[in-house]
């Protein structure tokens, strides 16, 4: 029955023969519906930028050359090593083909590139354990890799580290529809986990623009925040347990399904946000939230950041329990999305700031009434200049696109990304200060001669988290020197964090001191030495 619109759409796009296009739509739907979890690498029906469709036409310079890094004292791969890995892994678990290796060597931003000659794709925790035990003995450096969507260069090798991809560990292990506790392999793609849960009336308590590619293990390893942290909290709260393999092959079995457990140190917390430096996460147990029955979104235009703050304050008060996202985007970010898509802009006029508000609740009439009253109040008090409310699911998705497409569309020619926590009031001052600094140096502007396009700000305002981006026409060391450590110093001065949610990886390894004192850094290093004495796990990164 419902094929009609899809059919009609496919008809508009592909063919005017109703019968032919009906067939095609039915076929694609059937394939989606019966797609097993082992096939999901190709990112079924994703609305997000997937690795697969980003053309790797532009290759990054090798990280070691760009950043003048010295190779550590690690073993070199031998044919004997390869033979060993082949003996413990299935045939498709050992990747050596040069072209096949490319996507594992380069990061999503096309900023970092390594030269690994071997990718291992274990299917079981035991295999991960065997691999690490062997690598530890031979002192072979490794990089754990999930969906390779990380934004700080943590997921790709710097030299010839062996990539251990979790992509083949992609099974849901169990789900309890009463408690909402999901246990799944680390390599399950976030969107697939979410789709599975939605069928059961639940959702994954994390959502982000890279959901079609990133792994839940990668999410936990980076302690990803995402679009609804405001509502569902951090992974430090929702992850109940995990299983991880340590550098020497020891399996840490902490796959607890308990909400409360005060017996001993909470070890799992160490792995959440450890970015592959303490162990390889192989499975996760996580508390999921019931699927909201009513979701709505409004997209607002505002004249100043003061008004954005006022709107946020009122949203917390008036929408309270149904508020599920509060995202802010500046004019530059929206202009760039507009340039690279043919989506109709939600608002007619242009505004310096835009806000996307989402509500999620259990009663549509109640939520609609609340949202409407809230928005009317804002309009009457002239806190907002203009706004639209989604009238259907398609509009709701399209409104989200204006937020979710930003990272992808800004990335066209490369981008410098900063992901900072700063006190709300100062947030966009940083964007302005960076713009002024780049202008002064004559490196930013509208035409080809300038390496940088603009200073752009957007982010999870509800969490005090700003994404400062400088989209580029080409990478230029001059721009980087202007930005770093300037941005970090700026953030440090207001006691912010230089990495709110993307982590340290390779990009911020040298800047941790802007957010952590010497004592804390020492403790982090002690832990690393204890868990990974030969430092084979994700070297050259983190601290």
């Amino acid at each position: 029955m419902r094929t009609s619109l899809g059919r009609a759409i496919s008809r508009a796009r592909i063919s005017s023969r109703v019968s032919a296009s009906r067939l095609s739509i039915n076929a694609s739907r059937a394939v989606l519906a019966s797609q097993p979890f082992t096939e999901i690498g190709n990112n079924a029906g994703s609305r997000t930028p997937a690795i697969s469709y980003r053309a790797y036409s532009k290759q990054a310079k090798l990280t070691k050359d760009t950043y003048h890094t010295e190779r550590g004292d690690y073993g070199q791969l031998t044919s004997e090593d390869i033979a060993y890995f082949k003996s413990i892994l299935p045939e498709n678990g050992v990747v050596q083909d040069k072209t096949d290796l490319e996507i594992y060597n380069q990061d999503w931003m096309r900023k970092y590139r390594g030269s690994s000659e071997l990718v291992l794709k274990p299917k079981t925790t035991e295999q991960v354990s065997q691999i690490l035990k062997y690598c530890n003995e031979k002192k072979l450096a490794v990089v754990p890799q999930g969906g390779n969507t990380g934004l700080v260069g943590g997921s790709v090798p710097v030299f010839d580290e062996v990539v251990i991809s979790l992509a083949n560990m992609n099974q849901i292990q169990s789900f309890d529809p009463v408690t909402g506790i999901l246990v799944a392999d680390a390599g399950v793609i976030l969107e697939n986990a979410d789709n599975f849960l939605r069928e059961q009336g639940f959702i994954f308590p994390l959502d982000l623009g890279a959901k079609g590619s990133c792994h839940i293990g990668g999410n936990v390893a980076t302690n990803a925040g995402g679009l609804r942290l405001l509502r569902y909290g951090s992974l430090h709260g929702s992850v109940l347990g995990l299983q991880a393999v340590l550098a020497d092959g020891t399996i840490y079995n902490g796959l607890s399904k308990l909400r409360k457990d005060n017996t001993g140190y909470d070890l799992k917390q160490l792995f959440i946000g450890s970015e592959g430096t303490l162990g390889i996460i192989t499975a996760v147990s996580i508390l999921c939230a019931p699927k909201p029955l009513a979701v709505n979104a409004a997209f607002l235009g505002l004249d100043s950041f003061e008004q954005v703050q006022k709107t946020f304050g009122r949203a917390k008060g008036e929408l309270s329990e149904i508020l599920s996202a509060f995202e802010c985007m500046d004019a530059n970010s929206q202009n760039i999305v507009a340039k690279y898509t043919d989506l109709a802009r939600p608002l007619e006029g242009s505004h310096p700031f835009y806000v996307l508000i989402e509500t999620s609740g259990s009663n549509k009439d109640h939520d609609d009434a609340k949202l409407e009253k809230f928005l009317e109040g804002l309009l009457e008090d002239e806190v907002i200049a203009d706004g639209v409310v989604a009238q259907d699911e398609t509009q709701l998705k399209n409104l989200w696109q204006w937020r979710e497409l930003i990272p992808e569309k800004l990335g066209h020619g490369g981008v410098y990304k900063y992901d900072v926590s700063i006190p709300l009031a100062d947030m966009f001052k940083l964007v302005d200060d960076v713009q002024a600094r780049l202008e002064e140096a004559g490196v930013v502007g509208d035409s080809e001669e300038f390496p940088a396009i603009a200073s752009v700000g957007y982010g999870h305002i509800g969490d005090g988290n700003l994404h400062l981006n400088v989209p580029l026409r080409r990478y230029d060391e001059k721009v980087e020197k202007l930005l770093e450590p300037f941005v970090y110093e700026w953030v440090s001065k207001v006691n912010g964090s230089i990495s709110a949610e993307h982590g340290l990886g390779f990009a911020k390894k040298n800047y941790i001191q802007y957010s952590k004192d010497a004592g804390s850094i020492e403790l982090i290093r002690d832990l690393k030495k204890l868990y990974d004495p030969k430092a084979i796990l994700n070297p050259y990164k983190y601290v």
Partner: protein, 257 residues
């Protein structure tokens, strides 16, 4: 005849097009409990076209009237239509009854009469039952010309004639007719707008009249009985073959070649 347009736009409330419908347990229809409903996408396009005609020439359009036949919940759909740009609206309250296209066409014909409409723009079909009949039946009842599956509509102000480009198999067809006229819309016609906040607020004060089929003197009893509704058969997942030899092998064993 005055060439001022009095446009009637029928709109239907249906399960949101982005939601996958499921057959209910009794197999008498699709599950509607806890499911999001929205304006039928083709109706949304019809409404958008009416608004664009007015935006193209203010003096040309006297009014845009939206009408919906459905349960009291269809008021929401009418409010959306009013927020997007309709001037006034009528709800024909039929309770929970599923109407057949002929009944809808008869009801609409009465509203055309009451509103003195001279142009009806409606979706070519509703995505819940895919009938694709209402526009044609209405044109027949009114004895008006019809231009179905429109992908482009041009109104000539001076002569009161309308040129419509239609989507047909393998290409397009351009037809021209004098008012009054029935147009049904195809997907390519336009992209509907968002409802802006100021307009949502204004829409609350716009007229929304509720009538019953009896008030219009129309008998809406069904002529068809739905015996059973079932899901389409699940297709088996595809397989990836390693070589052309394997492909031929597989095709042979499946008896396909």
């Amino acid at each position: 005849m005055s060439s001022k347009l009095r446009i009637l736009v029928p709109v239907k409330r249906v399960i949101d097009s982005a939601i996958r419908p499921r057959v209910n347990k009794a197999q008498t229809g699709v599950e509607t409990q806890g499911v999001k409903f929205s304006i039928n996408p083709f109706c949304d396009i019809a409404l958008e076209e009416a608004i664009r005609i007015r935006e193209g020439s203010k003096s040309l359009v006297e009014k845009i009237h939206a009408v919906s036949a459905g349960s009291i919940k269809s008021q929401e759909t009418l409010r959306t239509a009013l927020a997007k740009g309709a001037d006034e609206s009528t709800l024909i309250d039929v309770g929970d009854k599923d109407l057949e296209p002929l009944s809808v066409a008869k009801l609409l014909a009465k509203v055309v009469e009451a509103q003195d409409s001279n142009l009806v723009i409606l979706g070519k079909q509703a995505i819940d039952n895919d009938s694709n009949q209402t526009g044609q039946l209405l044109a027949g009842l009114l004895n008006w010309p019809q231009a179905t599956n429109a992908s482009k509509v041009e109104v000539e102000e001076s002569s009161g004639s309308v040129t419509v480009t239609r989507e047909v198999d393998g290409g397009s067809e351009t037809v021209k007719a004098k008012l009054p006229l029935v147009i049904t819309t195809d997907l390519r016609l336009n992209e509907p707008r968002y409802a802006s906040l100021p307009n949502i607020m204004k829409a609350k004060k716009k007229p929304l009249k509720v009538v019953k089929p009896d008030d219009l003197g129309v008998d809406v009893s069904s002529r068809l009985e739905i015996l059973k509704v079932t899901e389409p058969p699940v297709r088996q997942a595809g397989i990836i073959v390693g070589s052309t030899d394997e492909l031929i092998e597989r095709l042979k064993s499946a008896g396909a070649v």
